[in-house]
């Protein structure tokens, strides 16, 4: 790395929106002299230089060296400490062409701006005390949210509910520790019994902390699913109608987030949004139709994919009924939603109990299928953000790992309490648990924090 995060004497700039063609692009600038330097390439210059914080200035972005206009822009001005980073900042709203963006960035660099390192804006916000790590991570999560549920969760985290949950837990553990330490620091003849809470009370508090940590850790599955989307695998024998189902879903013109054609993957997949959840719908069909060795490999991968999936849709051609192969698969994945396809055809018998009748060609049964998927996902991931206010969801693997470690320490503390281990041993477990929670919010500095967290951010955030 040629430049360090610590080099905070220099202003930084980066594109904050997705590169490529768009209506607008936002370039974010932050650091010492930012407003003055931006004004040097802005006309009317004084309007920008003298603009108060939280104001917008309309004008032209120029290349001062060539005395040339580059684009018509809006500049939003933020004055320290009232900005995301806590520094003087300017956001330039220009037209979303890569040519414009490239020129603007070159000119800014000539003025003394350095291209921002990954996560550098967030880093500065953290260092300037504008955010804790959990909120900083929420910024990243919010920006990468690709469905409504993820957006709601991330926004809630950004607003500090998750930070607060961690902080409350840590405070409670530290209070508990203080109670224990009082017993350990003073012999019984220096501390008076009535000052102390009975040990049964302490153990109840320990139990409550442990339960809260467990609930938070459990929320990760839901949070991650909401953040990253649910993997839904469509499986079944060849010609069961899987591709038709895909086409049906695509034809319904759901909000398609992205679609990656089979050329880049061995299977076909689309992103669709259903009732606020992002679904990654994967068709394993192509694999099954391959021949020979390749087919064997394909079957293996299909099964692997099914094992990882949040939801499996298993489809049969109703006219052909159930084969040995179908039964074997369903035995492995009893949770699968079972689809009885081609009910629009005369020769197709009624679906047996537990099977959902469907016509992938004509669309009959699709609303019922959607309802079934929604119900299943709701069971795993929970409803809207409002329904689970008391336990905010996390979607971050770093936080989950630390929570799991915290939980293990509290489990050990509980076991110690139950087995009558002396308090000095118990206190150690609780100290360790509090330590892990401290690492989550950045209260406790550990080597990994900077490398791991800030390195994961996209540029410009």
């Amino acid at each position: 790395m040629s430049r360090s995060y610590l080099d905070r004497g220099r202003p930084i700039a980066a594109l904050a929106t997705v590169p490529g063609r768009s209506a607008l692009a936002v370039i974010r600038c932050s650091g010492p002299r930012t407003i003055e330097l931006c004004a040097q390439c802005f006309s009317p210059a004084t309007a920008l230089a003298s603009a108060p914080g939280y104001s917008m200035v309309h004008g032209w972005f120029n290349d001062p060296r060539k005395d040339e206009r580059i684009d018509e822009v809006l500049a939003a001005v933020f004055r320290a400490p009232h900005s995301f980073t806590g520094e003087d900042s300017v956001e330039l709203y220009c037209h979303g062409s890569s040519a414009v963006v490239a020129r603007v960035l070159v000119v800014l660099e000539e003025r003394g701006f350095s291209p921002a390192l990954p996560g550098e804006f967030s880093f500065r916000a953290f260092i300037n005390g504008k955010t804790d790590l959990v909120k900083a991570e929420a910024v990243n999560e919010l920006a990468s949210a690709n469905c409504e549920a993820a957006r709601q969760d991330a926004l809630e985290r950004l607003s500090g509910t998750l930070s607060k949950a961690y902080k409350d837990l840590r405070d409670d553990l530290l209070d508990l520790l203080a109670e224990l330490e009082a017993r350990l620091d003073y012999p019984s003849d220096e501390i008076e019994d009535e000052e102390l809470e009975p040990e049964s009370g302490l153990f109840a508090r320990l139990q409550s902390c442990r339960d809260r940590v467990r609930r938070l850790a459990e929320g990760y599955i839901a949070g991650k699913l909401r953040q990253e989307g649910a993997l839904v695998v469509v499986a079944g024998r060849p010609n069961a109608g899987k591709s038709s189902l895909f086409n049906l879903v695509l034809r319904e013109e759901r909000a398609i987030v992205s679609s990656e054609p089979g050329t880049t993957r061995d299977w076909l997949e689309v992103w669709v949004e259903l009732s606020g959840y992002a679904l990654r719908l994967v068709d394993t069909a192509g694999l099954r139709q391959a021949l020979g060795e390749i087919e064997a490999e394909g079957v293996k991968r299909s099964l692997e994919l099914s094992a990882r999936a949040e939801l499996v849709l298993y489809m049969v051609d109703g006219r052909k009924g159930l084969s040995e192969e179908d039964l074997t698969y369903l035995e492995r994945y009893p949770e699968a939603i079972k689809l009885w396809n081609k009910i629009d055809l005369d020769e197709c018998p009624e679906p047996p109990p537990g099977w959902l009748g469907l016509s992938a060609k004509k669309g009959a049964g699709l609303p019922e299928l959607e309802a079934a998927i929604r119900e299943r996902l709701f069971a795993i991931a929970g409803g809207g953000a409002a329904s689970q206010k008391e336990t905010p969801r996390l979607a971050n693997a770093r936080q989950k790992t630390l929570l799991d470690q915290c939980l293990a320490a509290l489990d050990s503390a509980q076991a110690a309490a139950a087995r009558g281990l002396p308090l000095d041993a118990l206190a150690l477990d609780i100290r360790e648990a509090a330590d892990y929670l401290g690492q989550i919010s950045g209260e406790i500095t550990s080597d990994e924090i900077f490398d791991r967290i800030f390195g994961a951010f996209c540029l410009g955030k």
Partner: protein
């Protein structure tokens, strides 16, 4: 007057250890005291040790210091505290015969070759002409005495004032004059000097107390030692007594608050929060209907007893009235009233971890002068200051104990980084590696260092090697043994561990209970391994505790080592904090003042925020 290599100012608990360490390590030393009769006086409670403090005493002993021997030889009662709360937080405490303690302390100085004692009062220090090094001291009688190193251990005596109600008098201890002049001299020489306050309860005539109305607290009959020399002194076992204050007591106290120097603002120094006066307790906890107190003997041959828990600076008439409200004390007579003392201390941030002053090379400061409270904390610093002053004479690197090898390390690191503004007392919770710093393992941790420093006598060395081998052998016996059928007949709690290694089985907390209920560790062990009878109790106990705590010791060391990496991350001594953009102004000033040597130290400096630390961490670790 002649010159010395080393001078120690003050004959309290810090001065004793400093002088002995210097002389034992071969420095021609002089101890200057205002009165040799008062060497090793216990100004406050007639007790040595207690939680964490007992560990300090044993560490001093393990390094070859004096306090453990003095405590063993002068005890009136011995107890092991916190037996039910875990081995790591247990510690011995002795009630001591104050007169005997002082006499033995003085004798140990008198018997020490290379060490002279002089009765005088130091009023100034003499720096070299360039102002960088110390060259000697100036006394009250105008005498100049030269020395290359000086250890300052003035306790509560520098510019000290005593308070009893509205009465204010000069003095460092009731009846003893303050050391006037030195504090002001240090102030005018630019040393950071400030005021602290502490207090002591009354001494009452035992013959005026009806002890039949009080609960008795007996000492233990099991042998308990501070010193690893484990010498038997045939000491008496005297009881203490427990009593409670009542609403009536509190009413009397409230009625006298308008004449309390503490509440009228006459005392400016900050007192210890954890050792509050009784009027403090009554004001701070208005809902409490009673507070506990103890009556402890001051000595075997005196009628005076000490009222532990009732320190005060209220006027004497109020004191007498509230003593008379206590059960059994209705006719109590005061021999010495309770009083508060306010004194000059030096801000410990002006010291290196060697306890040498950052401002004047060769000047070492130890004990209450650095803002601590307690005999044990003072002695620990005295010992380290003495060792390091001696090494300075030889141009050797100072010895700095780490936080994970000794409470002494925790103590000194806390002092020089936190620079306490109220009297600092050691607690077990101040140590990150409490489980490893058990009192019984102090010799294993520190005696090898004591030997290499040359502070440890041949006798101690032999004892240590025997004990160490004993521990190793018992550990070997434990680890090479499986739990057999016959064992279950002797100890039922072993049943779930049949066939398991005994070493693993010993981690079971149920077995811990059986151990605790046994007459002795040796008794427990020999029920399983008859050969264990051959070993002394202390070796067996340590071996068993190591086995019991093995899992937790490993866990503790894991947590500590995670912190260790940043703990050990060294900050160059010439580090320019102004070169870190964005470091908060407060952190910059504090860090400039303390000049922490490691990131861990920096983290403990008050006023340094987590974001400051994050910045510092990156700058130091990446060398940018």
């Amino acid at each position: 007057m002649g010159d010395y290599e080393a001078i120690v100012i003050g004959g309290g608990h810090a001065g004793i250890e400093a002088a002995l360490a210097l002389a034992r390590l071969g420095a021609k030393s002089l101890l200057i005291t205002q009165n040799p009769d008062n060497i090793g006086k216990m100004s406050c409670n007639p007790a040595i040790g207690g939680l964490a403090k007992g560990n300090l005493v044993r560490e001093i002993d393990a390094l070859g210091g004096q306090m453990g021997i003095l405590a063993d030889a002068s005890s009136l009662q011995l107890r092991m505290l916190n037996l039910s709360r875990g081995a790591a937080v247990q510690a011995p405490r002795a009630q001591s015969d104050k007169a005997l303690y002082s006499e033995l302390a003085r004798r140990s100085l008198e018997d020490q070759p290379n060490l002279s004692i002089l009765m005088d009062t130091v009023v100034d220090i003499i720096p070299s002409s360039d102002g960088r090094r110390i060259e000697g001291v100036l006394t009250e009688r105008g005498i100049t005495i030269g020395a290359k190193v000086v250890v300052l251990t003035t306790g509560t005596f520098m510019e000290a004032k005593l308070f009893i109600g509205q009465w204010i008098g000069p003095g460092g201890r009731l009846g003893e004059p303050a050391a006037v002049g030195l504090g002001s001299a240090l102030r005018s020489r630019g040393f950071p000097v400030d005021r602290m306050k502490t207090g002591t309860p009354a001494r009452i005539a035992a013959s005026s107390i009806d002890f039949s109305r009080l609960d008795v607290q007996q000492g233990e009959t099991k042998p308990i030692f501070f010193s690893f020399l484990e010498k038997e002194y045939q000491r008496p076992n005297l009881p203490c007594y427990i009593l409670w204050t009542s609403e009536k007591t509190h009413e009397v106290i409230r009625g006298g608050l308008d004449r309390s120097p503490l509440f009228s603002g006459q005392i400016v120094g900050k007192g210890p929060r954890y050792c509050p006066s009784i009027e403090d307790k009554v004001v701070r906890f208005p809902d409490r209907s009673k507070h506990q107190a103890f009556i402890e003997p001051e000595g075997q041959y005196t009628n005076e007893v000490y009222l532990n828990g009732l320190s005060s600076s209220l006027p004497e008439d109020v004191q007498l009235a509230f003593y008379h409200s206590l059960p059994g004390l209705e006719n109590a007579r005061i021999v010495r009233p309770a009083y508060a003392v306010e004194y000059d201390y030096l801000e410990a941030a002006s010291l290196y971890a060697s306890l040498e002053s950052k401002l004047l090379s060769g000047l070492y400061v130890a004990g209450q002068t650095n803002g601590t409270s307690g005999y044990e904390e003072a002695a620990a610093q005295g010992l380290m200051a003495g060792i390091n002053a001696r090494r300075k004479l030889d141009g050797l690197e100072p010895v700095i104990l780490s936080r994970d090898e000794a409470y002494i390390g925790v103590l000194i690191d806390d002092l020089v980084t936190l620079s306490p503004k109220e009297p600092y007392r050691m607690f077990t919770s101040r140590a990150e590696r409490r489980l490893a710093l058990r009192h019984d393992s102090a010799d294993l941790r520190l005696t090898p260092l004591g030997i290499s420093l040359g502070l440890v006598s041949e006798e101690r060395k032999d004892k240590f090697e025997k004990r160490k081998n004993g521990i190793d052998e018992i550990q070997h016996l434990i680890s090479s043994r499986r739990v057999r059928k016959a064992d279950i007949d002797t100890i039922e709690a072993l049943r779930p561990h049949l066939g398991e290694s005994l070493e693993v089985a010993l981690r079971d907390p149920f077995l811990g209970k059986v151990m605790d209920e046994s007459a002795s560790a040796r008794d427990f062990m020999s029920r399983l391994i008859p050969e264990a009878k051959e070993y002394p109790e202390s070796s067996t106990q340590t071996a068993l505790l190591e086995a019991r705590y093995k899992g937790y010791l490993e866990k503790e060391s894991r947590i500590a080592s995670r912190l260790d990496r940043s703990e050990r991350l060294r900050i160059p001594s010439d580090f320019d904090y102004r070169a870190i953009p964005g470091l908060s102004k407060e952190a910059m000033e504090k860090l400039e003042a303390v000049k922490p040597l490691t990131l861990g130290q920096a983290a403990r400096v008050t006023g340094v925020r987590k974001s400051d630390l994050a910045l510092l961490y990156i700058v130091v670790s990446r060398g940018t």
